[in-house]
């Protein structure tokens, strides 16, 4: 069982990345009440923009980060104005269709520009790794876990100690009531959507350093965020984050532990999240951390 600490560390790394992706997904669902099927694709596009700025334009990392940040804000606002805003007041099913269209458009654009092969963001120090007991961890992985915690703490502060956070929570609680007390809901939607996109783009860049980038990577991360959100309760931010780490632990242990002849091949790692979605929808559709009933 000496593999368990290493699996826990791996789970913490992937869980941190999932959490960064899912924060935006959950905030978008909470405030805009739509499932953004293009969330992972926005992340992928942002990461490719960073790749473009650092590798092809050869900018320094801070400059590239700034440029990616500005480009991601523009991208998120364009996506919101063209693909979500004209539709979401008619039916929640319409943004579902249009974000599917957005996802396909982003994926095909990126594969036309950068090709379908994997691209890797160069990180010089990836070769060496620290050893603590039986655990191996690279500096980059420490950075991922550390920054993810930092981001989550800052979101906690933002959501629970500022008037912005109170307004966001009011909107996700009951939109009509929030509008009645003069919360500027279109502006808030824009800010929340952009903030979520930036968080996920950061996660995408980390994925690019840790493994590599591929135009088809977006859908898988959308599904992970979706699974985490279903597990934690729709629009429930902390439930979603907890769900991310839970899914990450479960899939790492399911694939990593040796169950003799019943051990799962590594390829089934992703199927685990889908299985969780189905099980939660069947057994406790309101999410594990939600205490309000909903119509099923």
């Amino acid at each position: 069982m000496d593999i368990v600490p290493q699996l826990l560390v791996n789970a913490a790394i992937t869980g941190s990345i999932y959490a960064l992706v899912a924060v935006g997904f959950s905030l978008t669902y909470g405030v805009l009440k739509i499932l953004n099927f293009a969330h992972g694709h926005l992340m992928m596009t942002g990461a490719y923009l960073f790749y473009f700025f650092t590798v092809e334009m050869a900018l320094s990392v801070p400059m590239a980060a700034l440029a990616t940040c500005l480009a991601s804000i523009t991208m998120a606002l364009i996506a919101l104005v063209i693909f979500v805003n004209p539709f979401d007041r008619y039916s929640p099913m319409l943004p579902l269709v249009t974000t599917l269209a957005l996802a396909t458009i982003l994926e095909s654009c990126i594969s036309m520009i950068f090709g379908v092969n994997v691209r890797s963001l160069e990180s010089g120090s990836s070769a060496e790794s620290y050893q603590i007991g039986s655990i191996f961890i690279t500096p980059l992985q420490l950075v991922i876990i550390g920054t993810a915690l930092m981001f989550l703490v800052s979101i906690a502060f933002l959501m629970h100690s500022t008037s912005f956070g109170r307004r966001v929570r009011a909107m996700s609680e009951r939109l009509a009531a929030a509008q009645a007390i003069a919360i500027n809901s279109p502006a808030m939607k824009g800010v929340v959507f952009t903030l979520g996109t930036i968080f996920s783009v950061y996660a995408g860049i980390m994925i690019g350093y840790e493994t590599n980038l591929q135009p088809t990577m977006g859908h898988g991360y959308t599904m992970k965020a979706l699974a985490a959100m279903i597990l934690g309760g729709l629009g429930n931010l902390w439930g979603t984050i907890l769900g991310c780490y839970t899914i990450s632990v479960l899939e790492n242990f399911a694939v990593g532990l040796d169950f003799g002849q019943y051990s799962l091949p590594a390829g089934y790692k992703d199927a685990f999240a889908y299985f969780i979605i189905l099980m939660v929808l069947l057994i406790r559709p309101e999410g594990l951390l939600s205490f309000r009933r909903r119509m099923a």
Binding site: F83, S91, L96, A101, I105, C109, G115, M223, L278
Partner: protein, 289 residues
Amino acid sequence: MEYILHLAILVGIYLILAQSCNLTIGLGRLFNLAHVASYALGGYVTALASTELEMGFERCLISSALVAGLFATLLGGIALRLAGDYFAIGTLAFASIVSSLLINWKSVTKGVLGIPGIPRPEIAGVALYDNVQFGCLLGVIVIASLVILYCVFSSPFGRVLRGQAEDQLAMMALGRDVRLINTLGFLIASVFAGVAGSMFAYYINYIDPSSFSFSEMVFLVTIVVVGSPGSFWGCIAATFFLVLLPEPMRFIELPSSILGPMRQMIHSLVLLAVVWLNRAKLFPIQREV
């Protein structure tokens, strides 16, 4: 000439697939994102039955339809308890599990390598190696499927399916078993998707998971939405339009790495434009009085 025949066969397969998708997403407004999974199951059942078990054409076709139908019954039993976007999520999770199985269950599906060497169907001892003969066989199957689906669309059953999409409570108040009706609609749609998958496997002679990816599902949604959801003839026209739309691009000298994404992009732009124009009455259905 060979190229036109290829297009005709492609359109034929998509006619069955899109029209059956139109039955659930269009007529019933059940946002079933697992339709491609039924299509994939049909394709893989035919591929396995004809290469490993060496079964004949009729038995392959029927077993494909049966397996797809069983899948739909299972899926319907689970997913139809959910409403609205939860239903879409549930079916999407189901479809993702199926595609994950296709990629990872290597001892059966051979993973991403796919199953090669599917023989062409044999009718009365004659193997249809020629595309013209295969096209005739497909034509018969397409017309038969469309006639059956037309009957379903215009039957009382079709009207109940359409009615529950507009107002489920009213349909229940009229004493209809909405869950049963929806499951049946699911079953019929999935059976025809299985038939389409079977014909696809026979035509291409080779099958791999990339033919049944999520973008294929987006393409089906595009066809149904562009053809006005629930409209039988609209769906047929949209199938012709959308399958043939990117084809002129083949004559511009573009590398194939650009061609595939370009095709998807054109489809998505058409989808966005059509949803934009019809946004007020697409979901939920609004009658024009």
